[in-house]
């Protein structure tokens, strides 16, 4: 279930969203981005990892023209972003952003109304909007709370409504800023399952996180951010070989890699065993090993 190889990968057609040498400085003089370049492949799962203040949120705000770079360009499907009204409208239709704090995103009185805000802005008719709202709420498991006032929801529920509000616009690229922050373990699992379904349906996903273990478990590619620039883009499958790049960004190798190396060193797992993506994946593999060869396997 958690093994990356088990997930169906839709066909890729090259980069869908590209950030090319972006520079941005905030009004108070703080450097937001400093020559940041990053490419997101169509249909792929991407994790953006970096310390606080490394520029992850600033980069997201550039993706659909909420911020305009001082230098460099953003390209969607090979075309530079058009910052005129029609161009921004198109960009925000195709690229959806879920903000870190749902309190900053939800402004309507009740759940259903808030989710309808985006699709209504697309100029869709009421029946289509209603259908999209129902589908988006069902996708995040909030259909039973559709008529509830937003302020009576828990943080996790608000987060789900925020995601539904973006899903209802049916974007091709979904950007999530720290989606796991503030969620309990069960909600994190639910969100992970939702992300898998979206990926299965062909959506391109880029999420910002601090959690290297989660990124290793879920993503196809990991982009490292530090001091306003993307310092490396690593294929998750080969992450174990890039401990130096991770260390340079102040990150460690995922725990599961260390555990698997220890198990190989102790002869419990063969060196040729495929890399596990998370500890539960590794445990399941060990269980299978024990049941297949109970007399020889030592777990």
């Amino acid at each position: 279930m958690n093994s990356r190889s088990a997930a169906p990968i839709p066909p890729r057609n090259g980069p869908l969203l590209e950030f090319d040498a972006l520079r941005y400085r905030y009004d108070d003089g703080t450097a937001g981005l400093d020559g940041c370049s990053l490419s997101v492949q169509s249909g792929s799962r991407n994790a953006l990892i970096g310390a606080n203040g490394s520029g992850k949120t600033t980069l997201f705000l550039h993706a659909n023209g909420l911020l305009r770079p001082e230098a460099g360009e953003v390209r969607y499907a090979g075309t530079p972003l058009d910052y005129r009204r029609a161009g921004l409208r198109a960009a925000r239709t195709h690229i959806g952003i879920v903000f870190q704090n749902p309190e900053h995103q939800l402004f309507s009185a009740n759940v259903r109304e808030d989710v309808s805000f985006g699709p209504l802005n697309l100029g869709l008719d009421t029946a289509t909007v209603s259908a999209r709202v129902d589908a988006a709420l069902a996708a995040v498991g909030m259909q039973t709370l559709a008529e509830r006032p937003v302020h009576n929801l828990s943080f996790g529920q608000k987060k789900r409504v925020a995601i539904a509000g973006v899903l209802a616009m049916q974007p091709r690229v979904l950007l999530l800023d720290e989606p796991m922050a503030g969620l309990d373990a069960r909600m994190q699992d639910d969100l992970l399952a939702l992300l898998e379904r979206l990926h299965h349906d062909g959506m391109t996903i880029l999420l910002a996180t601090h959690d290297i273990d989660f990124a290793y478990r879920w993503a196809d590619q990991i982009h490292l951010m530090a001091a306003g620039r993307c310092t490396a883009t690593l294929a998750t499958a080969s992450l174990a070989e890039h401990a130096d790049a991770l260390a340079a960004a102040g990150l460690r190798l995922p725990d599961v890699i260390h555990v698997q190396r220890a198990l190989v060193a102790h002869g419990v797992l063969p060196a040729s065993a495929p890399a596990a993506t998370c500890l539960s994946d590794l445990l399941a593999r060990l269980e299978r090993l024990r049941s297949n060869a109970p007399s020889t396997a030592s777990v």
């Binding site: 925000r92 239709t93 900053h104 402004f107 309507s108 009185a109 805000f117 802005n121 006032p149 302020h151």
Partner: protein
């Protein structure tokens, strides 16, 4: 919060807000018609309160708690209309006097305000504000006013949560342990909230833009079944209220003293 709690949990939550607003509107008309005849006013007020308590199923205790501040203001207003403070130039003392005209004025004003209060309580305790905003949208109220209502309503809860959080954090570090500290903490809380208001307003603006918001805040209006039936019943009930309020005037016209 009490109003919110009742509005979302009452028996008539799914009744179309148009019907409830129509009935409340009739209640307001009845309040003006019945003001001069206290018994009629009392009867209309009782009807409105009973409809709210029995029909919509609002708990009497909650009803009284919501009405209490308004009733308090009303009582003070009526007392000040009834009694006047006079300065006696001979004795040089102050005296409290009640005039007949003041009593009549207080009775009329009190009766009208009480009935109008019962009508408005019926509406707000049985209808969530989001439904009322949707109704006003259908009635072609200017977009800008609706947007302000939506944002004020939402931010009311966001800031009450922020206020509670900051206050708790201050109290946990002895911020309110002494009057002087409490004054200082209150000032810091206020200053902190101003900053938060600015940040959150900017964040909400960004979030609206990210979802293609270009000015007016558009939302899906909730569907209501049996809207026509509910509106007809509300209109008939409202007319009955108006008839009850006007009955004294009609009787006086037909049987002059």
């Amino acid at each position: 919060m009490l109003i919110e709690q009742a509005a979302y949990a009452n028996r008539w939550r799914t009744v179309t807000p148009g019907a409830k607003a129509l009935f409340a509107g009739c209640g307001l008309v009845a309040a003006f018609l019945a003001a001069a005849t206290p018994w009629q006013a009392a009867a209309v007020t009782t009807c409105l309160a009973l409809v709210t308590l029995v029909g919509a199923g609002i708990a009497p205790r909650l009803y009284l708690r919501v009405a209490a501040p308004a009733l308090g203001f009303l009582a003070i207003g009526c007392l000040s209309l009834t009694y006047s403070l006079n300065f006696d130039s001979d004795s040089g003392g102050l005296s409290l006097a009640a005039s007949a005209s003041g009593r009549t004025q207080a009775l009329e004003t009190g009766a009208r305000a009480l009935t109008a209060l019962a009508a408005l309580l019926f509406l707000v305790l049985s209808t969530p504000l989001s439904d009322l905003i949707a109704l006003l949208r259908r009635l072609q109220m200017p977009e800008i006013l609706l947007d302000i209502m939506v944002l004020c309503y939402r931010t009311l809860f966001v800031f009450s949560a922020a206020l509670r959080d900051i206050h708790t954090a201050q109290a946990a570090r002895l911020g309110y342990a002494a009057p002087r500290l409490a004054l200082r903490s209150s000032a810091l809380l206020l200053a902190g909230l101003v900053g938060q208001i600015w940040q959150r307003a900017h964040a909400l603006h960004l979030a609206a833009e990210a979802r293609n918001g270009d000015g007016p805040l558009r939302f899906l209006a909730p569907p209501f079944r049996h809207a026509r039936r509910d509106t007809t019943i509300a209109a008939l009930a409202g007319l009955a209220l108006i008839a009850l309020a006007a009955s004294a005037r009609i009787a006086a016209r037909w049987h002059p003293a």
